[in-house]
Each structure stands twice: as structure tokens, then as C-alpha cells.
Symmetry: C2
Subunit: 303 residues, 2 copies
Amino acid sequence: MGAESRYADWIAVDWGTSHLRAWAMRQDKPVAESASEKGMGTLERSGFEPALLDLIGPWLGQDRMTVVACGMVGSRQGWTEAAYGAVPANPMPGRMTRAETHDKRLAVHILPGLKQDNPADVMRGEETQIAGYLASAPRFDGVICLPGTHTKWAQISAGEVISFRTFMTGELFALLSTQSVLRHTVGNGWDETAFAEAVSDAIARPEATAARLFSLRAEGLLHGLGPAAARARLSGALIGAELAASRPYWLGQDIVIIGATGLASRYQEALAQQGLAPRTIDATEATLAGLTTAWRTLEEAVT
Amino acid sequence: MGAESRYADWIAVDWGTSHLRAWAMRQDKPVAESASEKGMGTLERSGFEPALLDLIGPWLGQDRMTVVACGMVGSRQGWTEAAYGAVPANPMPGRMTRAETHDKRLAVHILPGLKQDNPADVMRGEETQIAGYLASAPRFDGVICLPGTHTKWAQISAGEVISFRTFMTGELFALLSTQSVLRHTVGNGWDETAFAEAVSDAIARPEATAARLFSLRAEGLLHGLGPAAARARLSGALIGAELAASRPYWLGQDIVIIGATGLASRYQEALAQQGLAPRTIDATEATLAGLTTAWRTLEEAVT
């Protein structure tokens, strides 16, 4: 793909707290891809432009190149703050924030996130994935679940995000499985049955969530609970607790999951167990579709 | 106290995962105290005796000294495994495990923990505090709450631990406030009202626990939630979730809290809000009372 990237029309960037990914795009198709660990959380303000140039330098010619970026790069601690839009809102507002660059070949546009006043909530990056999905399903009326470190549930109607909630399920799983006493019990592997039972138990009795965690350690010590089953039960307990708390979002709704394969399939299974039939959309495809929509808005404004 | 410690009758040791504390005891009174960071979690098997001698060496004469120890020192990864007693059980079984030592002046006795088959649970150290409280209140019939990294709730009747449950509330608070995205919002200080409201909300709607955590971050970003109020709300949300899950333990019961001042007072307030009037016992006093009971058992066996 290297040579082709010379003919990129624009560059798409997904810049989160812990990752940076860039794609050389020809219209809506990626023709080259590059990634680094230089997430927003690792950078001073002056570090953003060099981190970006490290990745996309080979794709630049002499002409000015349009770069469209979403994610935490637009936060207050990011490159340039792109103020949140307030829900209810179109997830693709058309308004972008220009980041200043020393390299005059770069025209960097940063997408704003969304905020909700009450209950207080924020998102940056997921709104672009939602916009990407809505580009292909403009009449979608239902709920979009975006599993991740901070899983989002968004209620969608008439092309707008009506409301949303964030759950720290992914971050809790990572902390508990690697930093807490449960790290001695939770290991690799997976146990489908243990996951299903844990989800079911957590949804049925969410008030007992706090009592379930240490049980994993004790069952490891007393009853030989294995590392794969422990991993599946911890995941099921946390996803189940999330589903119990997000029930007003998903109950009786048309659901789309936007996520990476592994985690999305766990949510899919957990929701299927509740009698729902969510569809799953690949997160990267949704991001690129959303960034493409934003890029087209810029093109239309110029021409 | 240094000179007096030469005349210690015995040595009491509280040896947890992350701490080691020793007291030179004259009968039931501490006359000298020493502590180090050499918790069970930091030591190889061969490291226990030197770690202990570092602390208690100055208290040893030429005669053999009885040492009574409780806590994780008796776990499988500890100095010598002291097998669990199974509930229902007297928390002070009289049976101790002797640890081998190179230094012949030491006679080290390790107290066993307690286990529960279903729901699976274990404790090591708290049983000694429970025994210490029961030594002064042998007819207590009710519930003992032991707040900590892993908070325990124990149902007591006729001098026995009937059942117990462990909650990872303290460890969750530490991980979330220092390792998760909430570290940007949670700071020092305290807000009594914010704590009380968070406890109340969590007990009333425990199924929403998973939705409350990220709200702290969002309220910090959008509504200027301060670091003290955020700390109190996180603590209240987690303690409230624990109280929701432990309700069968405390509802309508006579409650004793055994804990260190700060954390115990939070549980006291949270329970008072539910119309209960728990008494609080200092954790160190309870530990020493329990170890003293164990030492007396040894003395009686010898004489």
C-alpha cells in the first residue's frame, strides 16, 4: 500500500488517551495505515504535531493535506480543545476546531465530543463512530452500545444522540484482573458457561454485585476455580452489573453494538441471553465512516 | 518503653499482606511496639524469620520467647500454612501451627484463619480481632463489621462465627481513586453531605452502581465537582453498594464495627443513616486482645 498512499486525498486520525492511529484515505477508502502508542495521555501540548508527523510524514507531498481527527486529542488536555456539543445533538455537527501547526502542509481539523448535563456525562470519539453508523442507516431509531475501556450506551432518534451513559466496565475489569487480589485467580482463557451464568446472576441480583468479586478469590483458594473460569466470571459479573444499570437503555430496543471483535461478542452474548438480537458493527469501520463524513463536510464547504 | 521490653512475657504479631507489626507484651499489655513494611506479599518463605528478627531482636534475651502471630503469615504463600477452620466455628480454636525457626530462642505459633464453603469465602487475621472482641463480650449475638482493604461482615452467635462475607470495597476505592480515570477528579479532603447522599442513593438504587462511577469524572469536567466532594461521593457509592449487598447481615441487627478510626467512622455514619447504632472497637486493641487470648491458651496447655 506504500506507494499508493502518495495519492491520499486526506488523512483520518483516531487519537485516544492511550493510542494514535492514522489512515491515508482515498475518498472513503483507507490505502495505508499507521499507529503508535503516543496517545493523548502521554503527550505535552507541543508533542502532538511531532507525534502526528512521525506517523503520516511518509504520506505527505508538497501540497497541503487535510487531516480529520477524533477522540481525546480534542480534550482540554489534548492538542486543541474542541468544545463539546450538548445532547440532544447530531453526532456529526459539521463544526470542527482547527489545530495550529508549524508544518504548513498540515490542515488539522478536530471533531468535538458530546456532553450531557444531567446525568453528567461526556464522550470523545464514540460520537464519530455513531455518526459513521448513522451515515449508512440514517433512519436508525434505537440504542447504540460502544463497548470499551469506558463503555457508552447512546439513545438515538431522528439522527440525533438523545441521551447517553458511560460505564467504566472495561477499566474495572483491567484493574481488578491485573492490580487487585483477584490477579492471583484470574488468568487467561475463557469459559462460555461461566460467563453466561455470571451475567445472568448479576442481572437478576445487581444489588449483590459488591459481594461477588472476592468470591472469585475464595473459590480459587477453596474449590480450585480455574483461571479461565475466573476470568469469564469476573467479566460476566461486571458486564451483568452494567446491563442491570443500563436496562432503561436496552429494554425492548433495537440495538447496535459498535466494537472490536472480542469485547463486542461478549456484549452480544450477554444481550442475546436477555432475548435481544443486537447487530455488531466493526469499530474501525465505524470510525472511518464517521471521519469520512466529516471530511466530506469540509470538502463541501470549500467547493 | 525500650528498657521495659526486656521483661516481655511474650510477643504479639499481626502479619498481613502488606504490613508487619509486633508488640512486646507483658501479660495483656503492650510495653513496646515495632513495625515494618515486610508484609507477607513481599517475602519469600526464607524471608519470614529474618523479617521478624529485625523487629523483635531487641526484645529477646537468652530464654525462649513465645511469639503468637495472626494474618496472612499463615496462608499458603506465607511462612507456614495454618489450615483454615470451617464456619460455624469459634474464631479462637486453640489449635495453632508452629513455624520452624533457625533461632532456637523463638517459639512461633501461627493462628489459622476461617473459611466458608458456600458462598466461598476466607479470612485471616479478622478472626483474631473477632475473638478479641468476644473475649470481653462472650454473649454477643449480632454482626461484626471489619472495614478494611477487604471488608468482612461476620454473623456471630453463641461465641461462634456462623457465616461471613468479604467485600473488596477498600481495594476498589484505592484502585479507582489512584489508578483509574477518576484519579483526575478525586483528590484530598472530605464532604460529609456528599458522602451521606451517595450512600443513600447507592442503598436505594444499588442496581445503578455501575453508572455512578464515570459520573464523577463527568461532573468534574462539566460542573466543577471538587476533589473533596468527589472523594466522598466515590467512597459513599462504594460503601453504599456494599451495604446494599450486605443488607441480610445488618438489617435489624446489633452491630459492632472493628476498625481503624477514619474508615470505621464512615461505616458508622453510613449505618447510622439506616437507623442503626453500631459501636466501634479499635482494630489494634481487638487484635491484641485476640492474640492475648491465644497466648493464654498456650500458657494453660503448658502449665
